[in-house]
Amino acid sequence: MSSQNTVTPSDKALQARRRFLREMAGAAGGACMLALGVGMVGREASAKPAMAIRPPGALAEPDFLSACVRCGLCVRDCPYDTLKLSELGDNVAVGTPYFTARDIPCEMCEDIPCVKACPTGALDRELTDIGEARMGLAVLIDHETCLNFLGLRCDVCYRVCPVIDQAITLELVHNPRSDRHAMLLPTVHSDACTGCGKCEKSCVLPESAIRVLPHKLAQGQSAEHYRKGWAEKEKAGGSLIGEQEQLPMRGLEDREYGDTRVTPDYQPAKPGGLDSGWKP
């Protein structure tokens, strides 16, 4: 600058411009940090698998988070008060709708009012058949306390399921403890379970042994290249490696190939064979 004593208009303008730039830099920096912080929180939170069970028709979590405007119209139109808007401090993206099956499960309304109410498409109107909803997946999570796994007949979860015998079945299994009873194991099938949570709600235990989890937590994924021989065989309508030589098996000549089941008239070898009956 020319001299300190005489402040020319151009100096003044320069100073003003400098101050302006400094302020701008400060403002930009501050705003940048704030927005970035917010963005990071958001990114981290959306990277974690949401524990929340979303309403029917909800888009995949990342899309859902960018489409839902947190208006709560879906919450208002749910006739069973199933849905809640998450509050700050809940473990769910703040302001977004979710439900806790153990408190109030989804009643699977036929007309799906929550989806109709959503103005943004965060709940997809392509979903017109509530049976196609995939809010989550029920998992029989605790084999140690489930009464049916203990060999009793509870079956409550099975019987309340709106998609009974498709979403959940009772699988008959030998009870090795009594050795003479059956266990009827509640078994969920991912192709039919809507994730409504009625099973979780109605489990008779103090803590439900069956729970609805987000698919990301409930399901594994088999690798692209895995093939199941039996599925491939069915698809091909026959064995993929041609007719096989069937060698006879001694003692099982009248059976189908590979059928080694023990028949009622089967008598184990008498003591003296491999099992000598010796006791210490």
Binding site: E23, M24, G26, A27, A28, G30, A31, C32, L34, A35, L36, V38, G39, V41, G42, R43, A45, S46, P62, D63, L65, S66, A67, C68, V69, R70, C71, G72, L73, V75, R76, D77, K84, L85, S86, E87, L88, G89, D90, A93, V94, G95, A117, C118, P119, T120, G121, R125
Partner: protein, 304 residues
């Protein structure tokens, strides 16, 4: 500088006036116009703010569903959709195209504020305004001075960065912390820790920055401000010749910098406040004992 050096008396008189004004702006107006007329616009504004809140609340409280939803998106009487265009903008940048209802609702809101003035939202609708007004009032009462106020450009940067962050994170970035939607949603759907965010805004305005939140940080206000840059409704200082420099209007205005060009003819001849940051709250009209200000349209440049 020059004036202060030459007329010392005037300066001291003025600063005395100013300090008086800073504790009780509008005292003269109350004397001249009466308590009611000196608070007319403030009362109307409070009626509007609480009225709108009540419309949202009579549903959940009494089951009279006039309006469902919240300020982010709502449905009035089952037919009128309204959606916050700033939220939609965040959604766009996160890569979503919402359904027609939301777009229509956003269009209606957009058209309204484009026409009448964006920051009408701030002073007549936004619930945080109640919080920051309370903080500003208490700050005047307790005579709290100082603090570090960020540049008024911060909000525009923040507005740009929230949209950038939305695009980057694929989420409505600002909605993770937005005190505006948090407060409104909290009042209607229940709070949680969101009280903390609202309290933080209150304390920030009270202790750290005078009118800091609304005037310098809030990107929602910045967005609506940009919308309203061509708006119809404006405040005019058409009787500015009557102004006696009591500074009351500067003291109550949440964006005092907008008054100077109109009142003091700095950089413009006409008495219209055209600055987009003016919230059209009408507080300056109330507190002026000389009735300098008036609400009018942007085409009315008359002066009396």
């Amino acid at each position: 500088m020059n004036t202060a050096a030459t007329t010392n008396n005037v300066a001291t008189e003025r600063s005395a006036k100013r300090s008086r004004a800073s504790t009780q702006p509008g005292a003269e107006a109350v004397r001249v116009k009466g308590r009611l007329r000196a608070n007319k616009w403030l009362l109307l504004r409070r009626i509007s703010q609480f009225g709108i809140l009540a419309l949202f609340l009579v549903g959940p409280w009494f089951g009279w569903w006039i309006v469902k939803g919240n300020l982010s998106s709502s449905l009035t009487l089952g037919v009128l959709p309204l959606t916050d265009p700033y939220l939609l903008l965040q959604s766009f940048s996160a890569g979503q195209l919402p359904y027609q209802e939301a777009l229509l609702g956003g269009g209606i809101v957009l058209a309204f504020y484009l026409l009448f003035g964006g920051r009408l939202f701030c002073s007549w609708v936004c619930p945080v305004n109640l919080v920051t007004d309370a903080a500003a009032w208490l700050r005047r009462r307790l005579n709290i001075k100082g603090g570090k106020t960020p540049s008024a450009y911060t909000r525009y940067w923040l507005l740009a960065f929230t949209l950038g962050a939305s695009a980057l994170t694929g989420s409505l970035a600002w909605e993770w912390v937005n005190p505006v939607s948090m407060l409104h949603r909290g009042l209607i759907f229940g709070f949680g820790l969101a009280w903390g965010v609202v309290l933080a805004v209150f304390l920030y305005d009270l202790l750290f920055a005078s009118r800091g939140w609304c005037g310098h940080v809030c990107p929602v206000g910045a967005f609506y401000g940009l919308l309203g840059s061509g708006a119809l409704i404006r405040v005019t200082a058409d009787k500015r010749r009557a102004c006696d420099d009591c500074m009351d209007c500067f003291n109550v205005c949440p964006e005092p910098q907008v008054i100077r060009p109109a009142l003091k003819a700095v950089g413009q001849d006409h008495p219209l406040i055209l600055d987009k940051d003016c919230t059209s709250c009408g507080r300056c009209i109330d507190v002026c004992g000389k009735d300098v200000f008036r609400l009018t349209t942007r085409f009315d440049r008359s002066e009396s």
